[in-house]
């Protein structure tokens, strides 16, 4: 086996030194009746060339070469090549959690830079080293708010990503955390502020909203914050599209931001690994879940970084920890760190403007087709929009697929009231040509395949 650095002769010598007659001696503590005496029924040992061929075939079977207008929590952006070049350095790729700070300063400094840039973008004071993804980050943010406030009810906007809400429901179900779902304004697609005001009480630990929300609409965060804070609840803002922060006002009124940083240079990879992160106001840091890197000095006064405030964590506090999280998404957070540094202060804005422009053109073009109409048209949005069509999406989406275009996601799957409505996304990598082609096919015009 090519990964194993021993000859049979070496194995025999080592066994002899141990004083074992055969390798079976070392497994003698396993009762014989449970030891398996056959080969596992898994594929035979494959050559590297066979492995590559197998996965290439799988990739091709996946059907490539489609133009895509899919977003809904997973976004396709251009990924600068230096990201992959750098994260494949073995010193990053094959090192462990930086508990031994003297020999992991590289990882620790990069985490510190990640935390700084996330805090800067979100308008929060501090950010952690990462969470699994945006959905679990949002759920853990609510648990954090429960610890901060000592209250045991939650209010969640219906415009939060439906799968994030499902994850939250799973997390909350055994926490004794009754949850009220607040609907949206049918005209703007924004949280119904009157309903929110009615739902928030003196027992509410947190209000969880998403902005831009699942319909791509930017929520009125100052107004929502006022409602939450009037009753002493914390405001948690979930951000599924990190690139939006280049042009959309950061949710500075929030107490906690739970973000998905996949857009920062991370491949779609069929939904993972992505990169969640929790950022918050400084006074809540001791209730945060997850790892934190902090600055300190060594014996000679050199600046260095360590994992800190570990008394929040499971390996110290066990059942009293702020979370059970241990492994996080470190390497993906490093990808996001490099992405943020590549685009930098000017580029993050310029990139966001390109997204805004593409989506604006796509919304106007697609929404201008006969039988199609833009929903929630009056509200500010980033790079996603909801299209309502007279024709059933099942019918035109097949037509699009025949033309190698994947159209928007059907919303009735999660919002039965939004029949014939689809959620479209146009990032900077979508071309005008693709938008025009999609519009023609949608309208039923023959196009050259």
């Amino acid at each position: 086996m090519r990964y194993l650095p021993k000859s049979d002769e070496e194995r025999r010598e080592m066994l002899a030194e141990i004083g074992a007659a055969s390798i079976d001696d070392l497994f003698a503590s396993i009762p014989a009746e449970y030891r398996i005496k056959r080969d596992l029924d898994v594929p035979r040992q494959q050559a590297e060339s066979e492995i590559v061929a197998y996965f290439r075939a799988a990739g091709e079977k996946n059907s490539t070469g489609y133009a895509s207008f899919l977003g809904a929590g997973a976004y396709r952006h251009y990924r600068p090549v230096i990201i992959d070049a750098l994260v494949q350095r073995g010193e990053f790729l094959t090192s462990y959690t930086p508990y031994q700070a003297e020999i992991t300063q590289g990882t620790l400094q990069a985490i510190f830079e990640f935390q700084t840039m996330i805090a800067e973008l979100t308008g929060m004071d501090v950010a952690n080293a990462s969470m699994y993804d945006g959905s679990t980050g949002a759920a853990e943010a609510v648990m954090m708010a429960v610890r901060v406030t000592g209250r045991h009810k939650a209010v969640v906007a219906a415009t939060v990503h439906p799968e994030y809400r499902e994850v939250f429901a799973t997390y909350a179900q055994h926490q004794g955390l009754p949850t009220t779902i607040v609907g949206y304004d049918a005209k703007t697609g924004r949280v119904d502020l009157a309903a929110l005001d009615a739902a928030v009480s003196a027992e509410t630990a947190a209000v969880l909203v998403q902005s831009p929300n699942f319909f791509g609409v930017v929520e009125d965060i100052p107004a929502i914050a006022e409602i939450a804070h009037a009753k002493g609840a914390l405001l948690i803002v979930s951000i599924a599209e990190a690139v939006s922060l280049g042009i959309v006002r950061p949710p500075v009124e929030a107490d906690i931001v739970a973000m998905e940083a996949q857009s920062f240079g991370v491949a779609l990879s069929y939904g993972g690994p992505f990169c969640g992160v929790i950022a918050a106001k400084e006074q809540y840091v001791r209730q945060m879940p997850g790892r934190l890197a902090g600055q300190t000095v060594d014996g000679a006064g050199n600046r260095g970084f360590v994992l800190t405030l570990a008394t929040r964590e499971q390996h110290i506090r066990r059942e009293k920890a702020t979370s059970n999280i241990c492994t996080n998404q470190a390497l993906v957070a490093l990808m996001a760190t490099i992405f943020m540094a590549v685009y930098g202060k000017e580029g993050m804005k310029e990139l966001a403007e390109h997204n805004l422009a593409k989506a604006d053109y796509a919304a106007k073009t697609l929404g201008g087709q006969p039988g199609a109409k833009l929903r929630f048209a009056g509200a500010p949005r980033f790079h996603e929009f909801v299209l309502k069509t007279d024709e059933a999406p099942a019918s035109w989406s097949q037509r699009l697929l025949d033309n190698k275009i994947v159209g928007g996601v059907e919303l009735s799957r999660w919002y039965p009231e939004l029949a014939n409505c689809t959620l479209w996304c146009a990032t900077e990598v979508v071309t005008r040509e693709q938008i025009d082609a999609a519009a023609k096919v949608l309208a039923g015009v023959e196009v050259e395949a």
Binding site: M1, L4, P5, L26, L40, V42, P43, R44, Q45, Y54, F55, A58, G59, N62, S63, D84, L86, Q88, F92, S95, Y96, T97, I103, G106, T107, F112, T116, A119, E120, L121, D133, V167, T170, H174, I247, A267, S269, Y270, G271, G272, P273, A293, G294, T296, V297, V306, T308, R318, C326, T327, M340, K345, E346, G347, M348, L356, A357, D360, Y361, P380
Partner: protein
Amino acid sequence: MAATENPGPHTLGKVRPQPSQNEALLFEKSSPGKRAYKLPPLDVPAVNGEALLGSAVRKHRAELPELSEIELIRHFTRLSTWNYAIDLGMYPLGSCTMKYNPRVNEFVARIEGLAEAHPYRPDALAQGILEVLDLLQRCLLEITGMDAITLQPAAGAHGEFTGILLTRAWHASQGNPRKKVLIPDSAHGTNPATAAFSGYTVENLKSNADGGIDLEALARQVDEETAALMLTNPSTLGVFESQIHKIADVLHAKGALLYMDGANMNALVGKVRPGDFGVDVMHLNLHKTFSTPHGGGGPGSGPVACKKFLEPFLPIPVLVRNEDGAKHCPDAGDWEDTNAEPTADGCPPLFRAPLPITNLNQNQDGAKHLHWEYNRPRSIGRVRAFYGNTGMFIRALAYILANGPDGLRQTTEDAVLNANYIRKKIEDLYELPYKTASMHEVVFSDKRQAAQGVKTGDIAKRLIDYGFHPYTVSFPLIVHGALMIEPTESESREELDLFIAAMRSIAREAEEDPELVKTAPHSTRVSRLDEVQAARKPILRWKPQP
């Protein structure tokens, strides 16, 4: 060996110092006007952000750094050189299974059709990746001897959470979700944290004189309110619970379940299967046993495998192979294992390997399509958006394919051989608190060295000077001053001998010059860092100097 017998100038065992570059923070290197990006010209009309977004527009740019591409390459390359890594040498962190991360895994995970697939693309356009997931699921079920599986959990602790929720859902379906979870005092901290997170009371189970489960104590503590025992097997001492089936029997007699923390599966693959020795539900760590890279702390992946009575409760969605995707039950004709009992809802068990997996290149066009099944009313719900850390599934499957059945077994044997070799070679110098047979890891204590004031943490730091990453320090908690050493199968005899020489040399230093050890490391960019100051006045982000 040669390197230690004749170390030469400035050489300690396997290392020799070389300069490492200083590098400031990105923000300290930034200057306005520098760029590392260039966007293509817009092919649609430009827009005015302020006009489109109104009061929702961002007024001030975020203070991100401004640097050129070469500076970024140097920045992160310099940082990388400050890290120790498996690619540099042995990384014997007990419980963490720091094995070789094959590069072909990285290569195939980046194949365009897999890496660029959007999670909401229609199932019909995702058959390639679904086939990969299906094959991985079948392999993992075969390896564990379990009946059904979910790949959704993002890491080991997330898998624990999922597994305990399955347990809870099943108990609830029997009329009582029960109140407590038993956890041995040797367990990982994630176990009690998970149980508490899932709404259970944690009850500690004291280990017996061998560091294993005390059957009598277990029998006393398990009752009708016990949901499960969370057991790591082999234990965190690296010891196989030889009474495992009796443990399962004691639990099952009271209706409690046996949860296995699969952190130590690297000792078992191809030799014994948890499903055969009474485990009801378990998680795997693909980033441990199945070689996906740790990446400085993640991403991981924590699939949960269970027996068929827990299958109806699995998180949604579940991967199903059938005709039109309309039926809840897969076609019974698909399944070879006709002896298996139907599940509670009358369906045959999902995911029993229906085909012998022999020819990967077999044209599967004739096979029925795979799709995601959402209509599962008894499911615990979702634990994560989308389907899990798919990129890790690709890497884990590549690892399994590279090994095959013989390679997987040999891997396990080598991992156990390496740990026992280290044990034999240093047990005369380090206290072995439990003499029971070691499997893939061995746990010593610092008892003898502590007499000179040298603690496990000091020995660990001194190992750094010898060119090794430390072992796991002060864990498991049942061993005072623990040194937990897991070499994995990836170490050659030469590397092991260098490690052994280093450990022996440090034991000597602890006798002759304890200060040398207590102030280690002496060869790193930074010496021991002030963790107290870091926690007392946390500086968690850079801020410009006023």
